[in-house]
Symmetry: C2
Subunit: 233 residues, 2 copies
Amino acid sequence: MPGNSAGVAAVERAASLLEAFTDRDYTLSLGELARRVELDKSTVLRIARSLAKHQLLVRNDDASWRLGPTLMKLGNIYQSTFRASDIIEPLLADLVTQTGESAAIYVREGDERVCLFRHDSHQSIRHSARVGSTYPLDRGAPGRVILAFIDRPGSIYDEIRKAGFYATAGERDPQVASVAVPIFRDGATLFGSLALTGPPARFSEEAIRKNLEILQVAARKLSVAMGGEPGTT
Amino acid sequence: MPGNSAGVAAVERAASLLEAFTDRDYTLSLGELARRVELDKSTVLRIARSLAKHQLLVRNDDASWRLGPTLMKLGNIYQSTFRASDIIEPLLADLVTQTGESAAIYVREGDERVCLFRHDSHQSIRHSARVGSTYPLDRGAPGRVILAFIDRPGSIYDEIRKAGFYATAGERDPQVASVAVPIFRDGATLFGSLALTGPPARFSEEAIRKNLEILQVAARKLSVAMGGEPGTT
DNA sequence: TCGTACGTTGTACTAAGTACAACTCCTTTT
DNA sequence: AAAAGGAGTTGTACTTAGTACAACGTACGA
């Protein structure tokens, strides 16, 4: 297939290289890298060198590789794409101290949701995730809330829309429960969802009720700050 | 040159594509993109599609492009490479409220320095920069401090090492002044530098002296938290 | 109604990327 | 100590796979 609607293989290989790195394996040897992406070492080396030219990859002293600073820079520009003001960070921090659970903001990105901001709980047992991670829209409270406020007409999400929040326990991941509410911007446009997440054991009905209030106050503040209407509740 | 020590051109083209996006131009049309990287539209389209497969790029509804969530995720992993604990964020925030100036942490990355963490001042006139940006090591206080604590022997940086801090005004950028101190980890290993930056007009000798104390307290706290010795001062 | 911008597809050409094998250092094993 | 295995690197031959070009459809503005 010379050039119809295809992409560029070398570029996708490069992307796979980058994605081979994780929280735990933040530094990889050439051989390990080659093994993971299933390419010849020499091929990987050439691609890695090109990535390094733009600081998407950095070479360690021991010749192993790690991700580069340009990724942080670009990731930051991605965030700014959403023009989410810097009141978000302290707001999430407040939420964490008030509720004891991890707080996060999710936005829709195609048919997935992305964790755009996040603040981890201080408790030893807590839900931890990484900013930029993607999850399904139709699993977990933060996703369902987004769905509920996207498709308007009478759907299975009518209830959520009416209630103005949603809570799940172990739906997407058996280990985590969450409560989520919508955030609006520029009028009634949905921006995303604000959620508290933690272990299901701590998400009793009454705990949810208590935290929901706090969550809604924060969501209203946020929506207003972003030029949206405070929301349903 | 088939395959000696070169890289992969297509990968570098893809990297240039990503770098075409900035704070201001966080969304670009295909044509604009092609113009900036000086490639044919069809070529750009193919590369962009491949980048989009990995969510390094995202397509807008109006067919224009913007950076993708994977960049945030990878950028975050890059940050974690430095195993800098999450006490940093609040510490920088504190620094900002105490001094009124923007606070940032720089680490060495090859022959440059990278802004790894940052907290902007609340004042209307303030120094703003983006996390992940790279600057020269030999210009500006944060860079010079890093240099001073890297090469041990009697060099031109002896004075800085003895003083334990450095202040500059308009060295790298005529518009900005800064005071910087070193941060250590794992014993006496240099981690990077902690700096306050702002307009030169606000960096009088006495202002520097006052802010320096605050800065040094914070740096000592940070160093200890990272298993380093508190430092010289 | 024309003109010019856009994004898109197909095609021909060849440059550019690939895998392989060979090589050099190391470190570990026997 | 020698050998065996692993690391990263380089050169080469083959041909795939990426490129620019030109042509097309569409939408917007003059």
